[in-house]
């Protein structure tokens, strides 16, 4: 199996789907000739040419609206919004148009549309370029939202998103672009809407995504030396949310910690907690704890940014406290 970065997995997934289906088109700001601001899509323009791969003006609303119009008339567009922080610029098109178009038409149209964006803190990009966007997009039936955490998942989930007949937002995490892993280029696409057990364990369940998943896994690794065995779940899909996988784990471990990069209030972690407090309440031996970004904003200063999102110590501390 070839080994590649998370970044390359994006490129490979787009290229694979464009080869497979000539309805797939791809556009966004500086994605074509320059290969993307995060250098995520080099070579796509060269391989598929200017009709199917396009640079756009700086017009996020028009980008999404155009992608929607193309999706309902027979293409299968992949639109890039660059930093996920720019999603709000196109928010109406995403939540009032893309998510609702099929429904409002009484099923006359499907919306096979993929929107990609890059999210997350840790790079010193400041308040408006470091946010996680998953939780902003969960309250809109009609939309699917995924946040892949490994090269293999990126390849599998992005291809699944492109093939899906519903609109899917695929959130890439900036801090993972250089993460290396094995990717089976011939594998079937992943199924959307499924969480995965990233590390099996029995003492406590940690649920996380992306950068926080890495930190949760590192914590689990460290605790394993002491004989503590956390089970780490990679949520992968925010909408829909895979309750079954979470409940199965909590049933086994009786303890749940949710590790989330974004602010607690309004975050996806609350949804995981609420789900377990409903359907898995009697599995629990301890309160459901959430480790989140502080109730603040991402500051530019490294002294603050590195403190504001959950770090290894906070995760480890939460685990130890809940087990004590």
């Amino acid at each position: 199996m070839p080994t590649m970065t998370y970044r390359q997995a994006v490129t490979e997934a787009i290229a694979a789907e464009m080869r497979r289906d000539d309805a797939v088109v791809f556009f966004g700001e500086d994605v074509a000739k320059a290969g993307g601001v995060f250098k995520v899509t080099p070579g796509i323009y060269e391989e598929f040419g200017p009709v199917r791969v396009r640079d756009t003006p700086i017009s996020e609303q028009a980008i999404v609206g155009t992608a929607l119009g193309a999706a309902i008339t027979g293409l299968r567009p992949v639109a890039e919004l660059m930093f996920a922080d720019f999603i709000p610029v196109a928010m109406d098109q995403i939540v009032n148009q893309v998510a609702k178009y099929r429904f409002m038409s009484g099923g006359q149209f499907t919306v096979p549309l993929t929107i990609r964006a890059s999210q997350g803190a840790g790079g010193g990009f400041g308040t408006q370029h470091s946010q996680c966007a998953e939780s902003w997009l969960m309250n809109f039936p009609g939309l699917k939202v995924v946040a892949p955490s490994s090269p293999a998942d990126m390849y599998g989930l992005l291809r699944a998103a492109i093939r899906d007949d519903d609109p899917v937002i695929v959130l890439e995490h900036k801090s993972l672009y250089n993460l290396v892993g094995e990717v089976d280029l011939e594998a079937a696409p992943e199924e959307l809407g499924q969480a995965a057990v990233a590390r099996a364990g029995e003492d406590i369940t940690l649920v996380a995504t992306q950068q926080m998943l890495q930190r949760a896994l590192a914590t689990a690794e460290k605790l394993a030396d002491e004989g503590i065995k956390p089970e780490v779940i990679d949520l992968r899909s925010l909408a829909p949310l895979d309750g079954a996988t979470i409940l199965r784990s909590v049933r086994k471990t009786s303890r749940l910690i949710i590790v989330e990069e974004a602010p607690r209030l309004g975050g996806w972690g609350a949804n995981v907690a609420a789900l377990v407090a409903d359907e898995g309440l009697f599995y629990l031996d301890a309160p459901i704890k959430r480790v989140n970004m502080e109730n603040a904003l991402i500051a530019y200063s490294p002294a603050l940014e590195d403190e504001i999102i959950p770090n290894a110590q906070r995760i480890e501390g939460a685990v130890r406290q809940l087990l004590s």
Partner: protein
């Protein structure tokens, strides 16, 4: 050059009368609470939708705003399908999910009416992109109001359509008001067409009460679009006879303004021309109107009797699998 042949004129006349009579009935239905929420009538503006529709071909697409019943009927939506949708019935065009503000009929190329001002514009770009990528020769027309001309998305859409030379026709129905505000209070220029230059596209002012003028302008813009020369902006000067929506009595308009516009009624203008060209006589016209009134009556009665969607179908159409 603008003159249409008798057959096309008759077609346009029928379309306009159908829109007028259907919308008068819709207002009644709204007052009778059979149409809920809100509804926006295009009475007075019929030449806009009828003229454009006549200039489009099969495969072309349209997006428009909540003021979309006229466009739907001009493009050929059946009265029954429209009336059922107005009443939220399962046999409506959108299975009752859409309602007045979301008249959508894929079978006639009507990709959707939109209740968010300006949101329909880029959707037309997308349809045009499909046409360009697939080389179908189709074009995409998008209708919007004078008020919508001030929303950011309008700017983004015109710019991007021009850069990509997409086969789009931007059609601004300037009826002088956005809700209760006169264009002079929200827009520093009188002619929206003047904005076309900002996007290097032709901007044409058209008499929106003259269906033949609307048709001719659309034909030119469509030709340009099909030739790969990119989008055009047409500004149709028109007027809505009624209020903005619901029970708005339009107290904000200048005294005499309505009467002045009614003197240039789009149906009357065309009928008068047809009379003088010997293509129609008043008696025939009366018959036409009565026949259409009958159709409207039939559609309304039929729709009233149709069933509502079943509550079991609540979650249908949210996702593709359903």
């Amino acid at each position: 050059m603008d003159r249409l042949d008798k057959e096309s004129r008759t077609h346009a006349l029928l379309a306009m009368v159908k829109i007028r009579l259907a919308e008068e009935e819709i207002q009644n239905l709204f007052m009778a609470n059979l149409v809920r929420g809100t509804t926006h009538l295009a009475i007075g503006q019929e030449a806009c939708s009828a003229g454009v529709a006549l200039a489009l071909s099969k495969g072309d697409t349209v997006t428009c705003s909540y003021r979309g019943h006229g466009h739907a009927l001009a493009l050929g939506m059946s009265l029954r399908s429209l009336m059922a949708e107005m009443m939220g019935k399962e046999s409506g065009a959108c299975k009752g999910r859409g309602g007045s503000m979301h008249m959508t009929d894929k079978s006639i190329g009507l990709l959707g009416a939109n209740a968010i001002v300006g949101a329909q514009l880029p959707i037309a770009l997308g349809a045009a992109l499909t046409a360009q990528v697939r080389r179908t020769g189709a074009i995409a027309a998008t209708f919007f109001g004078d008020g919508a001309a001030n929303i950011g998305l309008c700017h983004e859409s015109m710019n991007m359509a021009s850069v990509w030379k997409l086969p789009v026709i931007f059609i601004c129905e300037n009826n002088l008001y956005g809700e209760y505000s006169h264009i002079r209070e929200t827009t520093p220029i009188d002619d929206i067409a003047d904005r076309a230059g900002a996007y290097a596209m032709p901007g044409v002012i058209v008499d929106g009460q003259d269906v033949e003028a609307v048709h001719a302008a659309t034909v030119s813009a469509a030709e340009r679009a099909r030739n790969g020369q990119g989008p055009s902006l047409l500004e149709l000067k028109t007027y809505r006879y009624g209020g903005h929506s619901r029970s708005d009595t339009a107290p904000y308009r200048k005294p005499g303004e309505l009467a002045q516009w009614q003197e240039r009624d789009p149906i009357d203008i065309l009928a008068a021309r047809m009379y003088s060209d010997g293509e129609l006589d008043p008696e025939e016209f009366l018959e036409i109107k009565e026949a259409i009134a009958g159709e409207v009556f039939d559609a309304v009665e039929w729709a009233k009797a149709e069933p509502f969607p079943s509550p079991q179908s609540l979650e249908d159409y949210v996702y593709a699998a359903s």
